[in-house]
Symmetry: C2
Subunit: 397 residues, 2 copies
């Protein structure tokens, strides 16, 4: 008996008509010899609508309660899909985070899944029911609802596939993984397959097709992921280890960009306070991504770092302890531009090629970080499209 | 330390502006020396909207899943109210049916509460937090969501007041309990107080201000209920035992009408099958209300009974076993017209007065049932307004 976990994103369940069509497709896929579990996101823009409601009541809504609010979106789509499946003669049952004890580490808004009790699921799968599970949500030790962060339903699906030893298919509103976002570079081509590590770097660098923690989890447990268009005819992309890609000799697999961060620059900052500053920031749970620092001169340095735009407000209270406001520069108009490719491991000169392109096109490089298979540059947002076009062309993406 | 349980209905929390105003009022009411728990219904027409969505997918949506869907409405309003209270500087936390183990008898769509674990609530009340609880919902023994039926949030509030030994205030969009629905009889007057039994008969006869099970529960545990307009200045109605009302010598306290039922008449029905028929009906969980039957002639009878309109479809399958379709008459155009008053216990002739009024006004009486303090007549719906006007005038309501 084969087992499949399918995940449908918000745009795939945005209307009852779409839910009905998905239900038909799920029943056809299940057939006689498959056990199926389906993870759903909230319908369409529901989550954003909820955040909008909460923001009418508070600029900074209580995080515990915001999680309660957002978690209802998946309960709605899950129950509607179960209703449609039942109506079409297929036994189906929906479960939420409580019912499966989807236990998380308890950080509101960005929890990580620790474990899932699949005993109820196993029983239902055995009796031929299709099991629908609310994505994006878990509960903490005292039973409070904790959500997994935007896109977290992917991670819910992979975690369930791991626990159930199932194949995992992620259905969305794009055909698969592209080397570059096709809305930004029309010559971009779809990848037939991509390695976990590359996908991970792309996802964490701003490619929004997949929740990056879902890739980590899939890699850790060796679960092959398939990403494709909901009800689409065209083949999507497989995410797996040891693909044949390197044989083709490509250095760069893809480009991702992100406009989600702001750059903070602290001028004439006391070098001795650097570690205290970043400890304070991490205690607040703020995600610092890129950091660059000048060498100390007379005990002071210039230090720049990027953080998510919506956490700028939080960080100001921390910085004030260390430095006068006149020495703080916040730049909201930056883009993180990342090149990812396993081939970088064995190839030199990728960075210098990028610098050359930037130089020729008057693109100012503000910060740079690298990993073994990724180069990320912070540039001015106005240069984003030029950078994508020129670099994608150079590396034949 | 005084304890108050307040319940706010759907129209009272239909917008974020209203939620904000309620939050202010709750904080003002709480002050220094009160512990407050607030039960909320779903915002505005949310529940109906959900049912509409489900009906697009199925004429008869799976009851378990419909309960999941509907239960999200109260989670949304509860979290938004908690967000607003927190924003206004008042610690507040929302809980749903899982978190409090609001355990029910497990009948989807019309469950009864068996018990509630208030340990989490007690802790939060002690530390000065306001506790918000989702009304209308519970969970069964295996953790499935079960709702309490329309208006069930009243019952949630009373059950919590019982467990917490608190006063209970029900806030809604009317000023209190009226002798007759003021939309139907403009001279109707608001009651300062009403006895449990009378309110119970009114509520179960169609007066939609209160969920009838909430009254039963309040009566059983001697909890005094207050019903009034949300943020209203005018005093509402107290529902209690041993009110002073009888001293005033009124026979009839109020009139209620209900258009929710259909009358089924079975002609030339075999008398020996009567008990089997009603057993089959009760096994299906269909609520039969009024029953009238002619004396048997040659072993056959005419039997009429009323059931909720939306269960007519269900009952047809049962009836078909016993009788040919040509002998079944379904009348959807009936109104149940009820007079309620503790004074009826000691006063004769109420029924005959009603018959006289009906007769004088050409109102056909189709069925009648009575309890010690209530008379209910099934009449044609077209005669409803006439019956209300004439009877209300006669009994000075």
């Amino acid at each position: 008996m084969e087992r499949i976990v399918q995940k449908y994103g918000g745009s795939s369940v945005s209307t009852t008509e779409k839910i009905e069509a998905i239900a038909e497709n799920i029943i056809a896929t299940k057939g006689e010899n498959t056990q199926m579990l389906v993870v759903v996101s909230a319908m369409g823009d529901t989550t954003d609508d909820y955040i909008g409601l909460a923001k009418k009541l508070s600029d900074d809504p209580d995080k515990r309660e915001l999680d309660v609010l957002m978690s209802t979106g998946e309960m709605i789509s899950a129950s509607l899909l179960a209703i449609s499946l039942n109506e079409q003669g297929q036994k189906a049952v929906s479960y939420n985070a409580y019912q499966l004890d989807i236990r998380t580490n308890g950080i509101h808004g960005k929890s990580q899944i620790k474990d899932i009790d699949v005993s109820k699921i196993e029983k239902k799968l055995e009796d031929g029911s299709i099991v629908i599970v609310t994505g994006f949500q878990g509960i903490d030790e005292i039973g409070d609802i904790t959500t997994l962060g935007r896109g977290g339903s992917d991670t819910s699906a992979v975690a369930l596939a791991v626990k159930l030893d199932a194949r995992c298919e992620i259905y969305t509103d794009v055909d698969g993984i592209y080397s570059v976002d096709p809305r930004k570079y029309s010559d971009a081509h779809k990848l037939d397959e991509i390695e976990y590590e590359e996908m991970l770097e792309l996802a964490s660098s701003g490619a929004q097709v997949m929740h990056s923690r879902s890739i980590e989890l899939a890699q850790k447990y060796g679960i092959e992921l398939y990403v494709g268009r909901t009800l689409g005819k065209e083949k999507g992309t497989y995410i797996r280890g040891n693909s044949k890609m390197n044989i083709e000799g490509k250095v760069i697999t893809g480009i991702a960009t992100s406009d989600e961060d702001s750059a903070i620059t602290l001028k004439e900052f006391k070098a001795e306070n650097i570690s205290g500053l970043f400890e304070d920031i991490s205690v607040k749970g703020i995600n610092v991504d890129m950091i660059s620092q000048t060498a100390p001169i007379d005990g002071v340095v210039n230090v720049s770092f990027t953080i998510p735009k919506d956490e700028v407000r939080l960080i100001k209270g921390i910085i004030d302890k260390y430095i006068e406001a006149k020495n703080v520069v916040v730049d909201d108009e930056i883009t993180k531009f990342s090149l990812v490719g396993l081939g970088m491991r064995d190839t030199y000169g990728v960075a210098s090629k990028v610098f050359k392109i930037f130089n020729e096109n008057d693109i100012a490089l503000k910060m740079i970080t690298t990993s073994e298979i990724r180069i990320t540059c912070a540039i001015n947002s106005k240069d984003k499209m030029t950078a994508i076009q020129k670099v994608a062309k150079e590396f034949d993406l």
